[in-house]
């Protein structure tokens, strides 16, 4: 299967400072890829290069088989910028009708699009009166125009409440089912964890890690955290058997490497009734993210 987006050895510098160096990434149709990185890591620069808004120094970028920013690519790519803005004097409906016309679609589709993002009730109000979350929905509505093959979404869920976020990802799933490829950046790591197929971590303009979350978790080899709660009075006995644990009252907290996990679990379950509760926490995406971006940056 050919990729919708292919980036190879992309390098872009601003006044001698490398904003992106030697970045390679591919996104296939129907795939959701999350782009993570601290502020200034190069996420927005990379997106702008993909959209053809800024030129790049070297490497190759192919968007649906065309050069970024070409007429062909622009017809097939939708963009949702970070902090999306519109002219405050237009209503949501007028703004969407305008965007539909720019894409050569019928302006009568506008109301349907606004309904899809849950904004039909405010369609005839001026955008100047909208909240940030409502503007974000207008931004999302315009990104749905004309069955895009690639969606580039810069912090798409910022300003949305939890319910809206869920609706937003449900919309993305519909697009993905139709074969659209999605590249999104986000700071909300927990939602990225559940809602994307692959993760790419940028740090200081370099791609430091890339792959499905499980792979990254294995590569990072971060310890697993376990919390054992002992029944009355048995805490010291359990703590003695697990010398690396830190005891606090009836609970014992300990960390162990991935490969030791089963052995430790065996020890704990060996206590049978003496254990009241056991919680196992694999390293979170946050831990993995911190691990990869720190290893490179400091």
């Amino acid at each position: 299967m050919t990729s919708t987006l292919t980036i190879s050895r992309l390098t872009k510098s601003y006044q001698g400072v490398n904003a992106l160096s030697d970045v390679s990434l591919a996104v296939a149709p129907g795939e959701r890829v999350a782009l993570l990185g601290h502020n200034g890591a190069g996420k927005s620069t990379m997106m702008k290069v993909i959209l053809g808004l800024i030129p790049y120094d070297s490497g190759e970028v192919s968007v649906t088989g065309a050069a970024p920013g070409s007429g062909e690519a622009r017809r097939k790519v939708a963009y949702l910028p970070e902090n999306v803005a519109f002219h405050p004097a237009l209503t949501g409906l007028e703004q969407i009708r305008h965007y539909l016309a720019l894409r050569g679609e019928s302006a009568s589709l506008a109301m349907g699009l606004l309904e899809r993002v849950g904004l039909a009730h405010a369609a005839k109000r001026r955008i100047g009166t909208y909240s940030k979350g409502m503007r974000q929905r207008v931004g999302l509505a315009q990104a749905l125009i004309g069955q895009p093959r690639l969606l580039v979404l810069d912090e798409p869920t910022s300003g949305l409440d939890p319910v809206s976020r869920r609706d937003f990802y449900a919309l993305l799933d519909e697009l993905v089912a139709e074969g659209a490829a999605i590249l999104l950046s986000s700071h909300a790591l927990t939602e990225v964890e559940a809602r994307t197929d692959r993760i790419a971590i940028l740090s200081r303009g370099r791609l430091v890690a890339e792959g499905p979350l499980a792979d990254l978790r294995r590569k990072a080899a971060l310890p697993v955290t376990m919390t054992v709660t002992a029944r009355n009075g048995y805490a010291p006995q359990i703590a003695a058997a697990l010398p690396r644990g830190i005891q606090a009252g009836p609970t014992l907290r300990l960390t162990c490497a991935q490969e030791e996990k089963l052995a430790v679990l065996g020890t704990i379950t060996g206590f049978g009734d003496k254990v009241a509760d056991l919680e196992v926490q694999p390293p979170s995406l946050e831990d993995i993210y911190t691990h990869f971006s720190r290893r490179d940056g400091q």
Partner: protein, 273 residues
């Protein structure tokens, strides 16, 4: 074409809501009314019909007012989009920068044409009401109307160019006022000073006519004054109007809008969002 017209429709709507349509129309109507009221006294001496005299006064008015209104409408066109943050998204749409500018130009030009039509219409109506023979000045009024719209197009294009160069609305506004002062006010004063100092030398005969043609505002004034010869004597720059053939000033009036739009497109292309 649909993409251009979509931009035009949105821009017109924005201008309507921002009161720009009302401001432009009221401004032109008000000044035209004042002019036709003030211009009613000296008609008999010139011996021309009332409307031709009104056209001469309107020419002097428009040469200041039309560029001003055009620059006020256009200085925000690109810089405003940059400041609001709406430009990056717009540029990812399958629409060229030239099409964006053309769309804006058509909307602003429509507003300007409306203001010109209302303003001149009022002045012409007043002239015809007082002097039944004023209908003889209608060709001059028609000429003034379309050349005013072209003058407006030139300064709209110049405004877009400055807006692209400045990239911030405040900077663009400053540049626009500077351009207006330079081309409409200071340019003539400078030329007159040079002509006086030259005292009939090579500058007056060779450079001066070219300098007048090179300035769109002066070319507009020359075109309208030399075309209606009856009133040429009444105006200050009218003296030069006799020296320069009408086709030359007309050419300048016709070429400048395209040149300005070309400059605007070049400047807009250099804006990286």
């Amino acid at each position: 074409m649909n993409r251009i017209l979509a931009t035009t429709a949105s821009e017109f709507r924005i201008a309507l809501r921002n009161r720009w349509v009302a401001i432009a129309v009221i401004l032109m109507a008000l000044f035209s009314l004042v002019l036709s009221a003030a211009g009613s006294a000296p008609t008999g001496a010139v011996g021309a019909d009332r409307l031709s005299v009104t056209v001469a006064s309107l020419t002097s008015l428009s040469v200041y007012l039309v560029p001003l209104v055009a620059l006020l409408m256009s200085f925000d066109a690109v810089a405003g989009e940059v400041e609001r943050g709406t430009l990056p998204l717009l540029l990812t749409y399958p629409v060229s920068r030239g099409e964006v500018l053309l769309g804006k130009l058509f909307a602003h030009l429509a507003i300007l044409a409306l203001a010109v039509a209302v303003g001149y219409g009022i002045a012409a109506g007043a002239a015809i009401a007082v002097d039944p023979g004023a209908a003889g000045g209608l060709p001059a009024l028609w000429r003034l109307s379309w050349s005013s719209v072209l003058l407006g197009a030139t300064f709209l294009g110049a405004g877009y160019a400055l807006s692209s160069l400045a990239r911030r609305p405040s900077g663009a506004a400053g540049l626009a006022i500077g351009l207006w002062l330079g081309l409409v006010v200071l340019y003539d004063i400078g030329l007159l000073a040079a002509v006086v100092a030259d005292d009939g030398g090579a500058f007056t005969t060779d450079v001066f006519p070219l300098a007048l043609l090179a300035n769109p505002a002066d070319a507009f004034r020359l075109f309208n004054l030399s075309a209606s010869e009856a009133t040429a004597a009444a105006a200050g720059v009218g003296g030069a109007a006799g020296v320069i053939p009408v086709w030359q000033s007309m050419l300048s009036v016709l070429i400048w809008p395209f040149a300005a739009l070309g400059l605007a497109t070049l400047a807009f292309r250099r804006v990286t969002p």
